[in-house]
Amino acid sequence: MRNVTTHVLLKSILAVVAAALIAGSACGHSAPAAAAGTGWKEMQLRYPGSDAVVLYDSLVVTLGSDNHIAKRRHRAVMLFTDNAINRFGDPRILFNAATQDLTILAARVRMRDGRIVEVRKNAVNQTTPFALDLAPDYVDWQETVITHMGIEKGCVAELHYVIADKNPSPYLSGVEVFSAEDPTEERVLVVKLPPGMTLKSASLNGEVSPPNASVKGVWVWTVRDIPGRTPFDGGAWEGDYSPVVCYSTASDRQDLLSKLGAGLTAKSTPLPAAETSICGAVKDLATDEEKVLAVHRLAIGAVTGVHVPYALLAAPARDAARIYDSGYASPLDRAVLLAAMLRTAAFEPAFVLVSAGKAASGDVPAPELFSRIAVSVPLGDGAELLLDPAAPFEHDPSFALAGKTLAYLGPVPRLAQLPARAVSDSRSELALVLKPGKDGGFEGKGTAILKGAFSPYYLVRENENGLRDFLKKRVSGFFGGAELVSWNPRSLERNEAEIDFTFTVSPGEKKKGERLYLSVPKPMESSLSGIERVRLERSQCADAINIEPCVLEVSCMIEPAPGWKMVTAPLPANEENEIGAASVDFASRADGTHVFRKRLQLDENLVAQTRYADFRSLLRTFHEDRIVLERE
């Protein structure tokens, strides 16, 4: 049966490929020179500026009547450039060799002259993923590398394989984002279920055609002509702005999450091996919050993080004792270890799944919609600490995760969507005064007001010199290398901090007629707003960018020393668009001082690709920072 099915499928894809090649296959000349300039050239003209075109890309997910899942992937790509050859010449297929069988159904190249070159036996090689070489507990995950033979510009590389689970699954689910690095002519998702079984599914972003359910038990989604683009990491999930299909056979989300939670809880029992170090870490700490954060720091340092190449929930977690003993951990295992260490310290943590995008789709219980895991620790009065098991707790995570859906995996699971943040929630304001100092330098006073997302409350409490280190580092970036002299926190709260500080700037000796170029610094922690995701010179961006709704503001009053004059300062500007507003002001006062102000307000939390130009424009205005003084 399999042979017949395979044969039919192969015929089918070859037909697709052949059709796509059009005249290329008709020539039949064997010399490369003769084949050049035929079908593939026409295809290249059809896709100018592209390295390759994906002719066909399908994923067929089948749940058998015995509840075994098989995933069959079939892709044919025409390659135009060396870049494409590098990316598609040696595809890697990740699978779990302990729980899955990988079968290569076809791996071949159709050369420009129509010849088909099948890969030989020696071109199919299993390897251990690089990230796992020193993590023996994870090495059941293997990669098979297919070295395509006969690759040349204008060829079509075809790969067809199936990964079949060895064990039955309680349900089938998945998420498919219909975006692509290379233009894709046809992308197909097929879900096949045993007769009588129902599938819950949803198309997000409303752009995927409804499933073709003409065949009973078969759901088919097809998207044609997906544009290609080089992915840009704007910190946003592609599924928030590209067509997405999510599907699941699980009947009940509560039940699914409850089982997930129970499984993780069972792995995270208290950890006697770490008890001494945990007790040492929390000793003398007064509050639960301090204790939880101390255990969190300990847990992060207790293991080496492993960037496993598979999805968060693709493999079960290990026992906390084993995780601790082995000395390394995947993101999921890190969560289990942290929870176990917190239990050892007598806290009651809960596992929390964090959605990949802004929201996890309504009725479809697909855990693949969640890409990260956190650990929540209740602190009383309804408060909680939401801990990232892999990162230090430096800022309130409710800002960075705003809008995301959290799935609390307790005995009674619940979903909660973190509220979107408003521009009024977060502000970083920096007020500086520069007055003449010693040796031609300046003495400076500054006040930083850091509210909401920017509050350094947790960051500076990591150790006893936290505030000093925080300020020293930030101030050293002022005016090409300022030095912190003193500091005084007027307030240091979780949601807001106000810190006074003084500093000196030593620009070096200048002769008459020489100029001093000063760049007014950015507000402290402004990178948390997302503005540094974008390099100003970049004119286009094909992906959305996550930003923090906020206000960033700087004022700098300069009193030049006698014998110095202000040459120039930023041009006043005022700009407003759908993303927010930016302004720059400059004024020279009668007392000889000069005041420079700039402000950026970000009203949105996501910059869509279509609004990149607006965002960039605001940033370019806000980037104005040049003050020039001249020795008279």
């Binding site: 069988d101 070159v117 023996p136 100029r515 100003l536 010179e537």
Partner: protein, 693 residues
Amino acid sequence: MSNRSKHALTISAIALLLAILAASAFAQTDDEIRALVAKAGEAKDYPDAGLVAVFEKIDVTVEETGLAHYRRHTLTKILTDRGALAKAALRFDYDPASNFIAVESVRIFRKGGAVEIVDLATVRDLFAPASMIYWGARMKVAQLPRLAPGDAVEVKTYKKGFEIAYLAEGEGGGAGAPGTGGATAAAPGSGERGSGETTAGDDERYIPPMRGSFYDVVYFQETYPIKTKRYDLHMPKDKPVRYRVYNGSLYSAQSFDDKGTHYSWWIEDVPALAEEPRSAEAPDIVPKLVLATLSSWEEKSRWFAAIHDTIYNDNGEIKRLVKDLTAGLKTDVEKVTELQHWSAQEIRYSGVSMGKGEGYTHHPGTMSYADRCGVCKDKAGMLITLMRTAGYDVWPALTMAGARVEEVPADQFNHSVVAWRHKDGTFTMLDPTWVPFSTELWSSAEQEQHYVIGTPEGEGLMVTPYSPPEKHVLKVVSRGAVDKDGNLTGTLHLEGTNYMDQRMRRWLGTHKRDDLRAYVEGWLAAISPGVEVTKLAIGDPLDFKKRFALDVTYRVPRYAVAEGGTLDFASPAWKLGFGRTPLLTAASVIDLEKRELPLFIWNTQAYECDETIALPSGMKPRDLSKESSKTGEYAAYRMERSVAGGSVANKGVVLVKRRTIPAGDYPDFRAILKEAGDYATRRVIFEREGGSR
């Protein structure tokens, strides 16, 4: 079993026994090990180190056939929590086609005195991670129990076989191929095909291909501190070794008996090797022992030619290809250039195993032609096949990219290339692996590099010539204008010669096409983050008959400080070079004030600037600082700035004269480049004639 195999087996058993006896002679009691651990010191004695090697001992016994038995015994003390996590798992690499490894024991000496024995049944035997070379390399991985500072890890392994630098033999493995009804991938560590478990009868495959010979290259410094490292070598009676110590000194001893010669080399109290960006390769830096039984490089040369004597045969398709490629070309250089371009561009770098001979022999040209892929040796084999088909006298060659080859004839090669012999007996070296996108026949990133050509007559160790920076110019022609408000508009024309031409073609020819604009914009950000690219033209990187160039039209609003009748700006073209771009690599690798290790930047280079920026009428410079220059042994520059006809002109060149800058000469090298950068990117103030300040 053949007589030869039986003989090998007997010899092997004897040698193994000798090796065990030798190893046991050096074995310590547990109390002695505890004492060594205690004496090795604490974290405070090794700032920045997470662990210290208390000892590393390698005891090697070599048979007449060249088959070598390696017994390795190491003891590592954990100094910090970070060091403990670094040793959480141990990895032992091997290649089942050419060597075998057994992890014999792993013990943890706890700080408190207890000794824990790691269960070796848990050791996983796995396919090793691989990229671009898929020859079936494997590894054994052992999970250790959680370690703590003060603990020590003792490891004993036994390995037999040979290794040929990077050219290690392999057989491939993993999932089966299609067309056989579908094959299923093997579970890791399952002992299925590809596993390294062997029997003594397999010894034939561990005997080096150059039967009877033995060589080794042993490094005596690592990235962690070492108390003692020792290498013992037991050679048969009539098999002397040539050896020499490089990059430092070692203790040594030698003794004889009626069975053979016992050599020993050791070192004590070696600090961790400094970690510095772009440092020269370890073989050029760390104390190393190079030894070999071969009498000369000529012997190696003859052997290398002999093993390839039949594999460069062509076929009808290759004949037609050669005819097509060389049609209409007149000179030999034109023809060879065309043939090399084909091999360089059309045989992509990705290697699979052909089975026997993999790793040290080229793939047949017919195989590479059909596969259109291979590693350096296979690309070289393809070129030799093409050139022999075209009637040229061509031979395979070995080289070491990026480091020296010492005169002791031990295999120190990581790369295979091609030698074209002329009628007068001289050679032209060719390297199809390093010249994709290049107009050079031999990449100048391989200048002053050792090589050995394989010929029936036998060739010695040779070195490629120095290539001065003036041959590798990246020239920036910059034309622009600054208006009275400081807005800059301009064009840039970037073009390279030889190696820098190759860099330009490669940077722009292999980048993802839909991201090229952003890539070039990233370069121009060195001029100003506010740059706006308005027009972009990139030549065809694969048209080697035309000069390749990048042409950019751009503007930068408010580039110059414009106030009070003055304009104040720096040269865009020089900023492009001295900014964080790849265009003048040397300028971006001098952050360190001092270095402990030599700086290695692969190639010599010149960065040349020819710039004219038009000014609004009536502007004159306040202080032009007309010229600056300096010459050193490793870098030099000369620059001039002038104003004429209403424009400011910036001209000059920066020369990076050597690809390796010794640590002692680095400060001078850095100072020259810093000085050059300071002058080149200095802002010049222009004011209206008559003064309006």
